[in-house]
Symmetry: C2
Subunit: 425 residues, 2 copies
């Protein structure tokens, strides 16, 4: 399901439902870029330094497309049911009274890569969903409260402003004697408009100034009118704030669910998510690991599993190559939920589809390794099989996620002489 600005509010309930019922959540993200850091093969380079170098880059770039695919086991159909969502993310400022303008970096080679895979940049920039971190949201609320309590900051009248306001003040006074009960002022630019509002605010508490297309109407306030306007303004701010919060609602639901998060080579994805939706990254790797443990206690990296599990005989661990190489693995079918029609045909490198493929891969690995457990997972595997109960008429006993417990929170670092980042260590 494609989720953009216009259907985000409606989609949110379905996303929440999918997360709630899921056994695990597969994710994938496309970035606006990410430059190379130092050559990871150099032996003096360690994970702590890698974290610091990547963190500095991660802060500048954005996730521009986020794929979330929820997988559920259906006892009825004896298959997994998947619900893939593909979100476009762009920090638009078109959220009315609750807006933040946050520049970010774009790396041309990342754009060229996305173009090669038919990325729709118009959809991204016209329809991307915004987000606010918790801190950004609180700061907007605080700003709004200050504005309501103390009003706007006054601006200085420059020469042209003075000229214009001399005439404007005469016009404003005419309101009190006007037959219609109002006058229309036509300040020609945003600066002069601000001066008019400032004049009314500071010197005419009994008048109301309202923006109209091309002019400002000034009139005598009715009884309780200014309270009503305040209430209407606050309602609008709440609506705008909810729109601006946007995708963080999904991130918060993912966190709250404490469901296993599955990705392919997802260390940087996790750093990017944490930076973008929590607001920045801690200064060192130890603190980052603690933060991630709190947010996502169980993370599985299919690339790490494929790189390290004994007996898999895998040549290439890119996502599309893995889908081929594991196609003969014996496991229950993975069906697409019938309401999710977008990926009946494949769309590799679209985040929602890649998340779906990653989840399928995890299921194959789970059953394959569950059937012929590796040294690393024997004990967990036996416990998991025992827990799942006896094999009945069905071809496949349901295998528990804990079959893969040995791989929990171990993330691939593909280009290093080290190949694992252990979040639990």
């Amino acid at each position: 399901m494609e989720v953009i600005r216009s259907n985000f509010a409606d989609a949110l309930e379905r996303v929440g439902e999918a997360i709630h019922e899921a056994e695990f959540l597969a994710i994938d993200a496309e970035f606006s870029g990410l430059e190379q850091v130092a050559d990871l093969r150099k032996s003096e380079y360690d994970v702590e330094q890698y974290y610091i170098d990547i963190a500095a880059l991660v802060k500048r770039y954005n996730i521009i497309q986020f794929g979330l695919c929820a997988f559920t086991w259906s006892a009825v159909s004896q298959s997994y049911i998947s619900k893939p969502f593909n979100f476009y993310l762009f920090p638009t400022t078109t959220t009315g009274t609750a807006r933040l303008d946050r520049p970010f970096s774009v790396q041309p080679s990342a754009i060229d890569f996305l173009a090669k895979h038919s990325f729709d940049f118009n959809k991204w920039l016209y329809c991307g969903i915004p987000w606010l971190t918790q801190a950004e949201e609180e700061s907007l609320v605080q700003q709004y409260r200050n504005k309501v309590q103390k009003g706007f900051d006054d601006i200085v009248e420059d020469k042209k402003g003075k000229e214009y306001m001399e005439t404007a003040r005469i016009q404003i006074k005419q309101v009190y004697t006007s037959k219609d009960g109002f006058v229309n002022l036509v300040p020609h630019n945003a600066y002069l408009r601000r001066l008019v509002y400032q004049e009314i605010r500071n010197h005419h508490p009994d008048l109301i100034a309202q923006g109209r297309p091309g002019f400002i109407q000034v009139r005598v306030a009715k009884k309780d009118e200014s309270d009503q306007i305040k209430q209407r303004d606050m309602d609008r701010f709440e609506r705008d704030l909810s729109e601006a919060r946007g995708f963080r609602a999904v991130f918060d639901m993912m966190k709250a669910s404490r469901k296993p998060i599955v990705g392919h080579n997802l260390l940087v994805d996790i750093m990017m998510m944490q930076s973008q939706f929590e607001g920045g990254l801690p200064a060192d790797f130890e603190a980052f690991k603690r933060d991630i443990q709190m947010s996502f206690p169980c993370i599985l990296d299919t690339k790490f599993i494929c790189e390290t599990a004994a007996g898999l005989q895998i040549k290439s661990t890119s996502l599309d190559a893995l889908l081929d190489q594991t196609s003969q693995y014996d496991c229950p079918p993975v069906d697409m939920h019938p309401a999710f029609t977008r990926y009946f045909e494949g769309r590799l490198h679209e985040a929602g589809y890649d998340a779906y493929v990653t989840g399928r891969l995890l299921i194959r690995l789970m059953y394959h390794l569950g059937a012929s457990p590796t040294d690393i997972g024997v004990a967990q595997h036996q416990r998991a099989i025992a827990k799942s109960g006896p094999v009945g008429q069905n071809k496949h006993a349901k295998v528990d996620m804990n079959t893969l417990k040995a791989y929990y929170n171990k993330l691939n670092l593909s280009k290093g002489h080290f190949t694992v980042v252990n979040l639990d260590a």
Copy 2:
């Protein structure tokens, strides 16, 4: 005329012709963003500080669309003929052997503004024309020469690399005894591929390794083959370099022409162009003025003229409002060259169209102020009229650009308590 990556090489000749024959060049640019600097109304703020603050921002952002409209006087039709070009600019890395990956910033509110005016972001990011500064071009040439002379830098064999290369070395030796005269190697990732090339380069000068889809073919070199390959590589590099140089060819032609450059509120446009195509901006405003004098000796800002010329009675100096307010000015017709069909209907805020509108506005101002010269321009005006010769049967004597000499190199700074940046001072 819309100019994108695919028709740029073909369009270049027409652009050059239009610049060559033009009386003046109107320009406009759309940026990927530009944040606000300090409040210019504060009295302690001066032009030098403004330059420094804007320069710091300009370096981070890019021109993403450039409008160039060449205006010529046609004695035959007694009208001006305009040729508007609209270039999309994006520093793509898809220029083969001559590529640079230069991240830049995007400001969400700038994107929202462009979206409001139907900007085609897919055209920008799929079809934008790249550019190289002179220094970047020289550095790529130097890199290429180094590569040819000294070859690639060697990389270290890690554990997986060693494993793979043990087998690969045995395969490579089989070339000499092979019936077919070649062997095909299948390294599974870019790292292993580099190791294969490195092996051939360092230990088998008599062999040739050539990349094929999915594998590398290694075979015995024929006589002179390596010289031929070198020549072919160099030809390809030259082609790629020319593609990567891209839009700088237009910028260089504009500079070389020394034609008057006309824009509306174009101080930042000029800074952006200078930064993007010359490579950076000087540290202080004095040096910037000297640089601009060298590149563009005559710049006219229609906004500055409208803000300051006596007797114009102009209320709003935004481009679209000015087109309305000056519609009754008496001047020769401005025709679109018949081969330039894109703007038969208006497309405000597309750079090519805005450049065209700016040029039309300049012509109106030139004839209006020429007919009723302001104090500021009297002397120049009289000289200009004298130079143009007597008024014949035509309704309009051709007015010389020098009518506007008093406005040369004076640029508007709209939000300041100062309203002029004098590049000549």
